[in-house]
Amino acid sequence: MNIRKIPAVTANNVQNSPIDNSVQKTPKTTELSIKEFSDMESNFAPGHGSCSGCGFPMIVRTVLKAAGKNTIAAVATGCLEVTSTQYPRSAWKIPCIHSLFENSAATISGAESAYRALKRKGKVKENLNFVVFAGDGGTYDIGLQSLSGMLERGHKVVFVCYDNGAYQNTGNQRSSGTPYSAHTTTTPVGKAIKGNMLFRKDIVRIAAAHNIPYVAQAAVHNWQDLFEKAKKAFSANGPAFLNVFSPCQLNWGTPTDMAIDISKLAVNSNFWPLFEIENGKYKLNYKPSSTAPLEEFLKQQKRFRHLLLPENKQYLENLRKKVNEEWDKLLKQCNEGA
């Protein structure tokens, strides 16, 4: 295995004991160049089976770079799990556990509780980090109860939702993370109904309502932001939750080389704002200098293409209205001027 030189910043990898109440300083990522970042040891190996142009491998690698080697991962059933853990191979160079679809938060709660017990008894020496990766189905929907339990109980775990907006592993069925008007196989665009007629569940604020120390929304294209948020999440004195925008070229109907562009457009059009809630305080992490038209984001994706037809203008305006309302609400919460 080619172990590359690890830049100085990783020496600060935050590995709190769960009993340790101190909050460590977050290293500044601005010191890190893209070259240094990409040279950092990644504990998610290449050769996994995800689609070309999929968003989540980049998310997993970035989060694991922030976490360091002494990290235990749990994955929910889904795209990431099936593409990275086909027996007898595994893409995980750190310990990893998969149990079921809805229980990744409970599973890691068990592992983290075992860590507390075994650390106390001297049976585990290292300081360990704990992380969960789940899709939006395993987070917003079937996994919400066990996620809520994990957050409420205060397990020191970072829960990362790679949000690709539907049940993509089973072939693009609507989840409660599916955007308004998106085409999925269970909300197909037809003559009578134009895709998903419900707005997304506000999972970030639901997580924040558990009064946990750190919650953030990120997107795959902005690695500095995601890396920094992951660092903060692992240094938080308690549970942390990251919701990360993760394009799915296969079922969004985008070219395979567009994940980063789509992600940028999602943020620049205010469809997917980058923000964080640290100890209850909202902060906007990125404000586009000029907001991209929503149509620019939508037109790249087959799942939204019907919105650009004149007869569907009403649905486009519904979505635009919601995006604007959410953006204004966020600006207020972040004490930012419009």
């Binding site: 853990t85 310990p95 599973t107 592992a111 509780s113 075992a114």
Partner: protein, 399 residues
């Protein structure tokens, strides 16, 4: 054949000079006492009647500092078993308890626990399943998960619930397989009985320290737990799992024998009560065995050759041993405190299969009793014995 030491003729003889503490406990508290003595690393907790007093008692032990377990108060039984799986995979000793709807809710995680070969000990308090809602005793929920790869041990009394919890923990870790220790709701779980418990050090020494080879928390030897398998591997894994579960036939006698050495109480796959010359036999499991024994004593006084075959090890099912014992009987009634809708009652079906290979089969009938806590009276058992002795079939339902 059952090894001689695995046969247990119940008796009241003195315990060979072993000092034992006598206490009055309900079945639930007896199991909690055994859990306290084991002092497991992690115990996920969720309340459900009639299991609740067991976990309440354990949380009391935690609050009093008598255990240093990580008690995880989860939000559902699905998460109980999920936490148990995560903690056990991590390398911790894990115990928990549940009943009925809780067992149903955690059903899919039970298969993960056994398929991942995780030595979790769960005390199950047998209770009916909805609908209609009923919190009282029967074994339907417990029987409904008997084929999911867990070892199942059934206790008749508080004493057995206590003993089997200790034996079950040792067995689970020896086999690398999860174990359920089942006791009847209310009848056993809530009734106070006198039992003998081990001194704490002896109990802890018997169960021993737990240091599994493969641990999720071992970052220096990273492993992936729960990888999925294509048809090229899955079937072989399941065959290995089946073989591993059958190890109970070797490991359970070992664990029971070691337990006998410290407790002077012996446990087998089965308990035979006045079976040597018995012509009419009741086969059952759990608390109904106690009532049956009382009836047998009375009928024996009148010269009736009646006996009881109580099943302790429900999974893996000791087919050969049961066939061997029943080969000498003229008639047997399989008493199930459970139904299997659309098929034979669970125990009845299993015992029928066990006897299929016998050249000389007893006349076997099956009766379902006690659903949702319906009482079973001595007169009803006596009638079953009299029907068997008269060569008649017993009634389908004991109502």
């Amino acid at each position: 054949m059952i090894p001689e030491q695995m046969r247990r003729e119940s008796s009241n003889e003195a315990r060979g000079g072993v000092r034992m503490k006598k206490v009055a406990l309900t079945g639930a508290h007896a199991s909690a006492e055994a859990m306290k003595q084991i002092n497991p690393d992690v115990v996920p907790v969720y309340p459900i009647t009639p299991q609740t007093p067991m976990m309440e008692k354990f949380c009391y032990f935690k609050a009093e500092g008598e255990v240093d377990t990580e008690v995880v108060l989860v939000e559902s039984e699905h998460s109980v078993m999920s936490v148990a799986v995560g903690a056990s995979a991590a390398g911790a000793r894990v115990m928990t308890a549940s009943s009925s709807q809780g067992i149903s809710l955690m059903n899919e995680v039970l298969s993960v626990a056994s398929g991942s070969r995780l030595p979790i000990l769960m005390n199950v308090v047998n209770r009916a399943v909805s609908a209609p809602l009923n919190i009282h005793c029967d074994q339907c929920s417990t029987m409904s998960v008997r084929d999911l790869g867990w070892v199942q041990l059934f206790a008749e009394t508080s004493q057995e619930a206590y003993d089997l919890t200790l034996i079950g923990m040792k067995l689970a870790e020896a086999m690398k397989n999860p174990v359920m220790v089942c006791q009847d709701g209310f009848i056993t779980s809530h009734c106070v009985e006198i039992l003998e418990i081990l001194e704490q050090e002896k109990a802890r020494k018997y169960v021993g320290d737990y240091n599994p080879k493969n641990k999720l928390l071992d970052v220096n030897n990273p492993m992936t737990f729960g990888a999925w398998q294509m048809p090229s591997h899955y079937m072989d894994t399941k065959i290995e799992q089946q073989k591993a579960l059958m190890d109970a036939f070797k490991e359970y006698p070992k664990a029971a024998k070691e337990y006998e050495a410290v407790s002077k109480r012996s446990y087998g796959f089965l308990e035979e009560y006045k079976m040597k010359d018995a012509e009419a036999v009741i086969v059952t499991t759990g608390s109904a065995a106690g009532t049956t024994k009382a009836v047998i004593d009375r009928m024996r006084d009148k010269g009736k050759k009646v006996g009881l075959l109580k099943i302790v090890l429900m999974r893996p099912f000791p087919y050969n041993e049961i066939a061997n014992v029943l080969s000498k009987a003229k008639a047997a009634c399989i008493l199930d405190r459970a139904v299997a809708f659309g098929g034979n009652a669970p125990l009845y079906g299993d015992v029928m299969q066990a006897c299929y290979s016998l050249n000389k089969k007893p006349k076997i009938s099956g009766s379902v009793f006690g659903l949702g806590g319906r009482e079973l009276y001595e007169e009803q058992i006596e009638k079953i014995f009299n029907d068997l002795l008269a060569g008649k079939n017993t009634e389908e339902y004991v109502k």
